[in-house]
């Protein structure tokens, strides 16, 4: 039974078979990788992916990366949260009136707390959802041939291409300090 389950887990972990077309260069030095990204982009290569154990600002600049859009998702969530929180209190107060000392049913100061906490709750949840959606997580298959060394100390540059172009990219990477270059597909 456990053996069968184990095989199932292995199969799950292996994931679906992927068919990659492109060149993967493995770098150790950050400046080498940055140079390579710059040159590749200058030569007009599109859809580059860089894999690294930590984010590097130099590489981000070389990639011309814009800032994440997740803030708009978070903002929308927060807006929904604050309106939702206030609406809930007002609706509840009106639909089940509990008159205390003849005071108004809709008393804003205490509702601010509920509105505020709801805002943070929904903004937090939508921040998570936004991040997962934009980062394409959870994912079962990487966009490029993944190497466990990318979570240790190596940087991987993936260029989707094929044929003659792939050979050119391979040469460029080798001349640019790559420790290892592999052509896929």
């Amino acid at each position: 039974m456990i053996g069968m389950l184990g095989k199932l887990v292995d199969k799950l972990l292996a994931g679906p078979k992927a068919n990659y077309r492109g060149v993967m260069g493995v770098y150790y030095y950050v400046d080498d990788a940055t140079e390579a990204v710059k040159t590749l982009r200058e030569q007009g290569h599109q859809g580059l992916s860089v894999f690294s154990p930590v984010p590097h600002h130099d590489i981000e600049h070389a990639l011309g990366q814009k800032s994440s859009l997740v803030r708009w998702v978070t903002f929308t969530g927060g807006l929904l949260g604050i309106t939702g929180g206030f609406s809930l209190c007002i609706y509840a107060g009106l639909s089940y009136p509990m008159v205390t000392g003849g005071k108004e049913l809709i008393s804003i100061p205490p509702f601010v707390i509920i509105g505020y906490e709801s805002m943070i709750l929904l903004a937090g949840i939508s921040n998570l959802i936004g991040m997962l959606a934009l980062a394409r997580l959870p994912q079962t298959q990487s966009r490029a041939p993944y190497d466990p060394r990318f979570t240790e100390d190596k940087i991987g540059i993936w260029v989707p291409c094929s044929g003659d172009e792939a050979r050119k990219v391979e040469q460029l990477m080798r001349g640019n300090g790559a420790e290892e270059v592999k052509v896929h597909g």
Binding site: V30, I113, G124, Q141, T151, E152
Partner: protein
Amino acid sequence: MSSDEAKKLSHAATADAGPVITQKSLNDDVLRMISKPGRLWWIIFIIDLMILAVGLIAERNQILYGIGVAGHTRPVMWASYVANFVFWVGIAHCGTLVSAILFLFRSHFRRAVYRVAEAMTVFGVLTAGLFPLLHTGRPWFAYWLFPYPNQRQLWPNFRSPLEWDVFAVTTYLTVSSIFFLVGIIPDAAVARDRTNNRWLKLIYTVFSMGWTGSNNQWKNFYGAYLYFAALATPLVLSVHSVVSWDFAMSQVPGWHSTIFAPYFVAGAIFSGVAMVINLLIPIRKAFKLEHIVTVDHIEKLSKLVLLTSSIVGYSYLCEFFSAWYGPSKVERDLFWWRATGHFAWAFWIMFTCNVIIPLSLWFKPVRRNMGLLFVLCLSFNVGMYFERFVIIVTSLAHPFNPSTWDVNYRMSWTEGAILAGSFAWFFMFFLIFVRLLPAFSIAEIKETLTAPMRRKPS
């Protein structure tokens, strides 16, 4: 912080760092913690479960025989359970402070300590959340606290501080859990790529969600992380303020005070940071991680303890001053009774542990002596437990009506067992955490290392 200072705090350049840390050695050092547990871990874990079992038996009795098995007696109808709740919420505060507020302030020392603090937050809220439910006596009706549509159109009273508490604590639990789990994603990927055990690999694959460290993932990860920090910062301050308003919104002498919100927040951070130090000192020793969590890091945390203890001390004195200077005779009488009456012992334990003993942290050798600091931080948490006890029990035992001043509240063994069980419950999660997930943020500590460059930076 200037770049020189940042360098001084980074691991690569710390004087007492011991061996030089590389990206690879960091992976190995942190992942060594999550290898197979040794005998000591099992002994501690089993003792912990035994204490938890005693707590569960006590809770079983309380469910079977009713809330009367606890020592609550009129007028002290809130006692140890509410004190436990406030204590654990307080413990839970440090995590978000260290991970969110210090992140926004770009304090580099947080990187080595924040994961432990965040885990403590999540487990602290999980523990705190039990107490209002146990205190109701009928925890299976806990869902009544939440607003949900029902046929009779019954809604909770949103004007009640107790309902604010439900919203604040639930939000805090949700947001801090998300923050904790999101932070683990890149580190779980490191563990996933290094383990040979298929079951562990499955667990880490789930936690890492298929993380590969691509530029798109990092971009959105840090984009979201900043907002988590920005959201968690006002949240952490609001949660303990709301907890303090459970008391301050009433008119009971000793509770009816505007200083409560900042006073509680400072107290929460004081006890939370002390608890983090208490957890970090044994962990760094047991797993030989003194070069990752350095004495400098612990010293920085102890300075936070010193700062917050002085705010707490100021608040204690301010309360007495307001009582003396203010017009209310009842308030004045209560404060005099607090320091000299039936529960004076609890008051003086509180005052000594939270105000007098922390003064020793002004001295650098004390802050850098790990053994001594451990004992001091234990005493701060004892003091903070008594603070909650003093605020809740003495105020209720000495209300407006002198005919109710016969103090007959005594903590029953049931309450004692449940308190012990709550510590066991917290440490059960923590013990599993240090053995299952990376207890130090590999990705963030890697950022403090000097990036490998072929050419010298210009």
